[in-house]
Symmetry: D2
Subunit: 284 residues, 4 copies
């Protein structure tokens, strides 16, 4: 992720716009709506055209924001509801019917706590592409997983690595997971964004430059992310805050719990009918 | 460490006081002075009496603050200078001549990145108490090390654990290492505090209550710490920032590098004449 | 654990004796019996007197060995059955009624894979001693946990650390967890031993010398362990095998899975009526 | 690595052949010779033709085996000598003059201790491909690094991943690092093999199938490896040992130390004139 003093969340950008221009009507080129899924609050923001892109600073497409009641989605009914709701949103951002094979790209830096969401999520995804000849797993959709790491430890842009592997494997779609930068403390580690636009350049905490988008990958791309940091300079105009993060005090735990939630939601979206209990047994 | 909207650094508290009351002369009960060690800037603050204790919010005693030119004290001459300067300050805060045995208490939560300074430092300390019968190590001062963990994972106050072990081992002194909370972004992961007052209650990021002090342990106690976080609520009066941290973006690396610096400085202070090169071989 | 060319498992020692002396009747001073718990096979060996102690090389007391059908007790009904059976055996090795507070001692070296059973198990134990004032947790028995580490990283015998803390906390009993050395490949990471004799000196992989026993701790001590290694020298008389281990290929996974099983079984034994699902939520 | 009851070391295969046929003269198709580099013993084995390939069970090419005096190459003169000797052997197995860019492939499973050599080594390699526009690093040869992980966690053969990236980056050569299986306890974690043949199928501890060879990658490939395990079934004909490893007791430390040695040797071979001290500063 690249911290940039702005938010990677479309719904948050929309909220901030409404707060800054309270007298305004609807934002041209943007459609926003709320709904409830599994008892959880969802905001949908559609960016419809260039006017909307400029207004919210993101490419056109669909963005969903799922709000959670806790920083730490614990095992049990709460986790199951969040998994169920997220699986619905992920499927809405993927082609229908679901492609017969999927590549999951787990982005971010495993050595920077708030950026480790993708790498930690990788361990919770059911990787099945190599199991297709095993009758026990024949009903599982083939899923491959790529952990490109970061430029500093591979010498290669992570987007380039994903593109290269994508061209070689030719999956039906890509699902990218990455940590995001937010703007409001109240949204940090409290919501998940799902979109059908991929990962735009300049998202997140890291420094990788190129996009993972339908245009660069040649297949549909959905993206899943959680805001884990705020640029401290965004909270206060002091220049002495450049290079500083704001994170929840228990970011280490929150990132682990969200990584599990996202991994389980990916499994639920891609492997229809699989319960949390069943995936936990398969992941063990 | 307990984040409390204030600083654990005596020299920083003194700086903030001078900034807030620029017309004032000297602070009663406090004596501050600067010096240079190994080319590095040191501020010494002596809290002399109750008046000074109230003014700076810390117990009376000596506090040194060593400033470093970088967030990441890399191997090489920079690290050696910092180790040398810190070793001098540590010895000033311990009884002279040095006691014949020492207990190092590595405080903090290994699972909370900015609070992991103590646990990470533990791996860089030469533990020698059990090697006294080995002629090869006979010249090394006996050092024992205690990692009490945190209340949530042991069920026992860390101070109580250190007290109990201290009573059983009867070392000549205790050296406590812990992460600190600071107030100024410019000091975060840029300085080390050494004091002869131990760890006061309410220091740091965690929630452990009791002090590690000469009074509670019955032996002299020196403390070593690095400010790794600022309470976000201290930067801005917004209540919505309660529970949020400000840290340097590369806090994971910075904590590891400072943990090494502190461990090496402890070795240099306790094992006279040992070079960085020699201790790296012994630690390997 | 100290690998010593012999087995830490009483039931295995008994099996090996019967294989070596097939014509023999019962071993004097030893009583062995089988039973089934939750569908799993249990062997009970009671060492009754000095004759039995000499014959099997272990102190008198009760030893249970629970055999599992897999190296990797996965989540689901298999794990629940194993947790249930082990909880029964743990309670049989503790005083009845259960003491009102318990100290768990997680022994072993976190940096040596097959010896990391204790440290990994520590993360799966519900630590509750500090929660007694919280009404939500009032029904949980107070449990404290001690991770003494190993002599090489603390400078203090781990048994001495546990004794010291035990004297200070005065729990009603101690439950020690440690990796064991076995003799038969087929038992490695396939069984759990529970005994009421504590940890005898020279057990396990490490080098810590003193015992954790009712005699040294002054309270009842139950011990839980899993054989994770065989001394390679025990398999073949070649001196060139001194210093080598035999382990299952997937020892890293097996140790993690067994650590979870043991932690859950401790929770089930000490917190009556708590289901696996409930403890997973509390541990999250 | 794939444990297969045989050795991945050409020099060891040659030694075992000579022990089994002591009366024989030279092995047809094989040339073996000894030398000393930096005071360390090196065995060179050249497999010259098909006859030699059949005899030693490895593809034709050059194999060097460097023997070390210790399981733990510690910092200091010992490490520097080993780094220097290995750098010479690596350069002998790469094209001359050295290609202007290199791809390092770090193979193996980070979650299986004796197979983690490659992943741990990755952290010790100077990755420089992305730094070419920075004048400070202009003198460093561009090095990219690939950690393909294992089939079970990515769903993609690691050889396929390296091939794909190699085709996209077009480096002048590939340097592959992997853990090996050996046959003699005395060679385990005591030697390093360097060859110009790549990684043959069935090497190592894992299960990845395809080769990384000049034929499959289209560029010269050197391979670096350390024997970390012996198939227990190879030590004793008992079927009950299938699925068991023999490793040195301190395999966790040994793998970490060898990973550092190999990383440093790669740096010394690829970045001419760089000292161990300089690379430690750059890696910090």
């Amino acid at each position: 992720m690249v911290i940039s003093g702005r938010t990677d969340l479309a719904a948050e950008a929309h909220r901030l716009w409404r707060e800054s221009v309270p007298e305004a009507g609807a934002l041209p080129g943007v459609r926003a709506a709320g709904e409830t899924l599994e008892g959880l609050s969802v905001t949908a923001v559609d960016i419809l055209n260039e006017e909307g892109e400029r207004a919210l600073g993101k490419p056109r497409g669909r963005y969903f924001e799922l709000f959670l009641p806790s920083l730490f989605p614990q095992r049990g009914p709460d986790l199951e509801r969040a998994v169920g709701a997220l699986a619905v949103l992920i499927r809405r951002c993927l082609p229908q019917p679901l492609p017969s094979s999927v590549l999951v790209a787990a982005l971010g830096n495993p050595d920077v706590t708030p950026d480790a969401l993708g790498p930690l999520c990788a361990g919770q995804v059911l990787v099945t592409r190599h199991l297709q000849t095993d009758p026990q797993f024949r009903n599982l959709r083939p899923v491959a997983l790529c952990r490109p790491g970061v430029l500093g430890t591979s010498g290669v842009e992570s987007a380039f690595q994903v593109q290269t592997l994508c061209r070689a494997l030719r999956p039906g779609c890509v699902l990218a997971v990455d940590a995001l930068a937010g703007a409001e403390p109240g949204a940090l580690c409290r919501c998940v964004q799902v979109s059908d636009t991929g990962i735009a350049p300049g998202s997140g905490v890291g420094n990788d430059r190129e996009a993972l988008s339908p245009a660069t990958l040649g297949v549909p791309v959905a993206a899943l992310g959680v805001p884990t940091v705020i640029d401290a300079a965004a909270l206060s105009p002091e220049s002495r805050l450049a290079g500083f993060f704001v994170t929840p005090r228990y970011i280490d735990s929150a990132v682990r719990q969200y990584a599990r939630l996202l991994g389980y939601a990916i499994n639920a979206a891609l492997q229809e009918g699989l319960s949390v209990e069943e995936m936990e047994q398969l992941l063990d």
